[in-house]
Structure formats: C-alpha cells, structure tokens
C-alpha cells in the first residue's frame, strides 16, 4: 500500500513536530489533537505493515533512490517491525495519557508534544534504519530531545538530571562516532548489511576495538551497568509519560541498536560473554539499588535498568531461545514499565509525594491508579497470570538451554529482591493508614483509558501468551538469520 510506507514513520512526526507551534497559532486545541492523529496514524500503519509482512521478505525503502549499499535504506523486517509497532503503539498510548494533562496542572503541551514526537521519530529511526551512520544520527536525535524532555519541568532537579544525561549521551555519541569512523575506514561502507558482509575481512584487533567502542557507546544508551548513572535521574525527573516513553522507546531503541550491531553487523567473538557479564552486573547493581530507594520513580528507574540487564542477558546467549526470551522481555518491559510509569505519574504528581513513604493508603483515595500500579508491579516481578511471567519463564528456559545454571540462580535471587521492593510499595499503597495532608490528582479519563489498554494487554498476554509468541518467533528467526537479512537488503550480492 502506498500510504503505509515506512518512511512516514520518520517523516511524519518530524514534519508535524516542527509545524506544531504553527498549528497552535491556528487553533489551540490542535496542539493536543495533531500529535494524537499522527501517533494514531503511525500506530495504524505499523500494525498494518507488520501484520501484512511476508515472512522472509522485509520491506526495504531506499531513501532518495539510491540502492544499498550506497544509499540510506530503511528496513521494516519482522524484528524491527515488531519494535516499531511496539514503539508506535506506546507512543499513541502516551499521547492518550498526556492529552488532557493540562487539567492536572501540566502546561506547555506545545513543547512537550513537539519534543515527544521528535523523540518518537528518533527512536523509530534508530530501529528502522539500515545505515549505521544514520542510526547514529537518529540516536542523537532521540538523545537531544530526551535531554529536553528530561529537563521539562522547571521546578525540580530536572536540569541536573538532564545535564548528567547529556554528559553521558555526548560521550556515547563520541564513542559511537569513533567506532563508525574506524569501521568506515576498514570497510568503506556504512550500510549495515554491506558492513556485515565485509566485516569478516577486518583485522581482528581493529574489530575488537570497534566492538568495544560500540559496546561502550551503545551500552550507555542501553543502560548498561557502569554507564547508567543517568538513568535513575532522568527517569525520576522527567514527567510521568516521558519516563514511560523512555522506558518504552528510548531504552528499546538503545538495546535494539546494541543487538543489531552485534548480531547483524559485527560478528565478534566474546562480545556475548561480555554482554552476559555486564548484563548480570547491571541486574545486580540496579536491583540492589532499587531495593533501597525511597523515591518511587527512582525505584522504578532502577528496576527498569534491571530489566534492561535481564534483556541483555537474554540476548547474550546468542541462541534462538535467548532471543525469543529477550524479545518477550522487551515486550513486557515496554508494556509494563510504561504502565508503571504512567500510573506513578499520577501517584507522584504532587511535589509532596515523591517518596514511597508518602503513598500510604493511596489505594483508597486513588483506587484506579493504585490498582494499575499494583497490576504493573505484579506483572513486572513475573507473577502469573500476567505477561511478565511468560517472559521470565522463557528467559529461564533459554538460560537453562545454555547450561548457565548459576545465571538462573542469580536471576531468581535478584527477582526475590525485586519482589521485595515492589511488594513493599503495594503494601504501603493498599494496606496502610493514609497520611493527613495528601494532594490527590485523580487521573483524567484519557489517562484511565491509556492505562486500561495497557492493563488489558498485560492480562491478555498473561492469560494467553500465544497472542504474541508467533510474532516473537518470527522476529527471532529474522534476527538470528543474518544471511537472510543481508540477502534481503542486498539482493544482488552473492555471498561467498
């Protein structure tokens, strides 16, 4: 179909984002409505494209008419399509959630939606692009607007958080750029498929340096252990829906870039072991820090890091089961963390209630939001019958497949810690006497709608995971099938 061209994923939000202030001049409510229309359209086309995708035949768009490996191309395959669909779906929900945010004291929706749309465009770009420099550009786009979104609120310490994020983000961009530079120097091409073909001939020493640079640079974006200092600050200082989209989109695009680079582009021996170790360290440090958090959002942020670590571990097995589990975890993390951040957005809206301690008895005064938070917490720690369980189960099965019993034990031990801190919050929300002066911001109808949709997805997938397992399997096969990817991007190339 003409209208469902993947280019729209990037072009449309980029365009409308900058036009948004103009629309605002014409008719003020358009500021709220236009992004919604865009996101809805994006979600529609992504679903449409994804559901109509022929297996083994990804949609490849050549920008400006140049065929790969010379031109930039967009690849909408089972894997990237899945992530894009997820991102657009979440973006739409985030819009639904924040459409009426003004009602509870959220101003500046113009800037907000502009930045949000740009960020979404960037993340989609990262996922879709088939060009490694293009990926860098999109990562930077995403990052810059994320800085803006992080620093969105004026009263808080958001500038501090944004600055830290910016500092690390810039370093990340330097390393990625350096890696691309070295890669380009070696292979003379920027197309990922082409690099993948030619990468075999690179000097292994150089290759490992490139891999290290990519690892560090993308690791910052993917919230890897020693480089994730920005995450808790950014997540906790950004507005609720922004934190949700960070977890749902930003982190996803980061991890996507990481696994795309190491699965498809660069085949480096040992990087997966490194990823495993770093993933485990990420999990351990993040979850242990989360355990001792007093602020709800910071806790969620650390938990988010932990989940990312889990995803890294899953992808580090380099097996089909591992990828499948990783994808499942990504899906879960995107959906559930979004729900958690969205609900915590209302719970911690007032500056008075930032700490977990302040939320005693909120189950009674904010029943729906608390319920959603509780549901999210149940799901994220992997309790059945919610979707988190299946992710965890698949993850563990994959781990066992790789004979890594100690990893299972470690993951499960950390999961106990996770349970502890989430259930502490639930206990406080529901089974405590509430404090005297609390400021309640009841969710608006659209927020309720957004959260309900997420909850329904969580429960639906939890009860019947086969709703998504087919797609995940397809995506797995796509990611695992490196030759297939190269072949579909570069149809004329004959391997060997």
């Amino acid at each position: 179909m003409v209208i469902t061209d993947p280019v729209y994923f990037i072009a449309l939000p980029l365009l409308t984002a900058f036009l948004l202030p103009l629309f605002g001049k014409i008719y003020k409510p358009l500021i709220g409505i236009i992004p919604g229309l865009v996101f809805a359209f994006l979600a529609y086309i992504s679903f449409d494209l994804y559901l109509n995708l022929v297996p083994g035949k990804p949609i490849i768009i050549q920008m400006a008419g140049w065929a790969p490996p010379w031109g930039i191309n967009l690849v909408f395959s089972e894997f990237s399509g899945l992530i894009v669909t997820l991102i657009t779906f979440l973006a739409f929900l985030v819009w639904v959630y924040s459409y009426n945010f003004k009602k509870v004291g959220f101003d500046n929706s113009k800037k907000y939606f502009t930045l949000l749309m740009l960020m979404v465009a960037g993340s989609i770009g990262v996922v879709l692009t088939g060009d490694i420099f293009n990926m860098f550009v999109f990562l930077e786009i995403t990052a810059i607007y994320s800085y803006g979104l992080t620093a969105f609120y004026k009263g808080r310490d958001s500038a501090e958080a944004a600055f830290k994020y910016l500092l690390l983000g810039s370093l990340s961009s330097v390393f990625i750029l350096l890696a691309i530079l070295l890669l380009y120097k070696q292979v003379g091409t920027l197309n990922m498929a082409d690099i993948a073909v030619k990468a075999q001939s690179i000097d292994p020493k150089m290759k490992s340096i490139i891999a290290i640079l990519f690892f560090v640079g993308l690791g910052i974006e993917a919230e890897m252990f020693p480089m994730n200092g920005w995450v808790p600050d950014a997540y906790s200082q950004a507005p609720g829906p922004v934190a949700a989209s960070f977890a749902g989109m930003l982190a996803k695009s980061g991890i996507y870039a990481l696994i795309r680079v190491f699965y498809t582009v660069l085949e480096v021996k040992g990087v997966f072991d490194l990823l495993l170790i770093m993933g485990l360290l990420t999990i351990i440090f993040a979850e242990f820090s989360a355990m001792r958090q007093k602020h709800l959002r910071r806790m969620l942020a650390y938990s988010s890091i932990g989940q990312m670590g889990l995803i890294m571990v899953a992808f580090s097995f380099n097996t089909k089961a591992g990828i499948f589990a990783g994808l499942f975890l990504m899906f879960n993390h995107a959906i559930i963390k979004t729900l958690l951040f969205l609900s915590s957005g209302f719970l911690t809206y007032s500056t008075k209630q930032k700490k977990i301690r302040d939320l005693d008895g909120f189950g009674k005064i904010m029943p729906f939001t608390s319920l959603m938070f509780g549901l999210g917490a149940f799901a994220i720690v992997g309790l059945p019958p919610f979707s988190g369980f299946w992710g965890k189960l698949n993850m563990l099965v994959a781990t066992a497949d790789s004979n890594l019993y100690f990893v299972i034990a470690l993951i499960l031990l950390v999961a106990v810690v996770e349970i502890v801190y989430y259930f502490k919050v639930i206990g406080r929300l529901y089974f405590r006497q509430q404090h005297k002066d609390v400021e309640v911001h009841n969710p608006t109808w659209n927020a309720i709608l957004a959260m309900s949709i997420l909850a329904i997805v969580i429960i639906g997938v939890g009860i019947y995971p086969d709703l998504i397992t087919d797609y995940l399997t397809k995506a797995t096969n796509e990611l695992f099938d490196k030759a297939g990817y190269i072949h579909s991007v570069l149809p004329n190339l004959s391997l060997n």
Partner: protein, 120 residues
C-alpha cells in the same frame, strides 16, 4: 611531507580529543565541561575528515573542471558525515549551555561537585 601532514592531523585530532576528554573528566566547572565536550567533538570531526582525506585528492565536487579528467577525489562520505556530526554537536552544545544556565540559576554555582541533589 604529505605523510607528516596526515599524521600531524591525526595527532592534532587525538590531542584535541584527549584535551576535551580531560576537560570533561577533570574540570569541575560546568561551562568548562561543555567546552570540553565541544573540543572532543571537534577533535573527532577533525579525525573524521582526516580519515576521509586521500592524499592529493581534490574536493569531491563534479565541477566542469574535473569532468573527464582523471582526478583523485577525497572520499565525500566522511565529509558529509562530519557535517551532520557538527550539526548534532552544535545542537547538543546548545542544549548543554541552556542546562548550565538553569543549573546555575538553581544552584548558584557551576561546580559540578555541588550539584548532587539526585544520587544513589
């Protein structure tokens, strides 16, 4: 001579990068850190251009002057990339400076060690 030039450019680039990195890691002033970032970026960009340069190459422009002649052109791709990178670096610097201003207003200092409201 040509080689020396090439290596000196590489050297300058790495020097600039290290200088920038030093500023980012060691300087306590926010503005200096931002400057360090910019220097780091510049070094990187220089490196990029240097990598793309082929000795004796001309500008990669198909002008009437070069049509039909056997001319060595420098690789155009890194130059294009550098342009993008510069733009991105500019954007980042702008955001960074804006943030520095806000941080200064809030904390009344530009010492990064004192801006630690968010920790652990």
């Amino acid at each position: 001579m040509q080689e020396f030039l090439t290596y000196s450019i590489y050297g300058t680039a790495f020097f600039l990068m290290l200088l920038g990195l030093y500023a980012v890691l060691m300087k306590k002033n926010l503005v200096k850190i931002v400057i360090g970032l910019t220097v780091l970026d510049s070094g990187l960009n220089l490196l990029f251009v240097a990598v793309g340069y082929i000795s004796g190459g001309t500008a990669p422009i198909f002008s009437p002057a070069v049509v039909g002649k056997h001319v060595i052109m420098t690789d155009p791709v890194p130059q294009a990339l550098v342009l993008t990178a510069i733009v991105i670096g500019f954007g980042v610097t702008a955001v960074a400076l804006a943030l520095v201003v806000r941080l200064y207003r809030k904390h009344n200092t530009t010492n990064i060690d004192e801006i630690k409201n968010l920790k652990w």
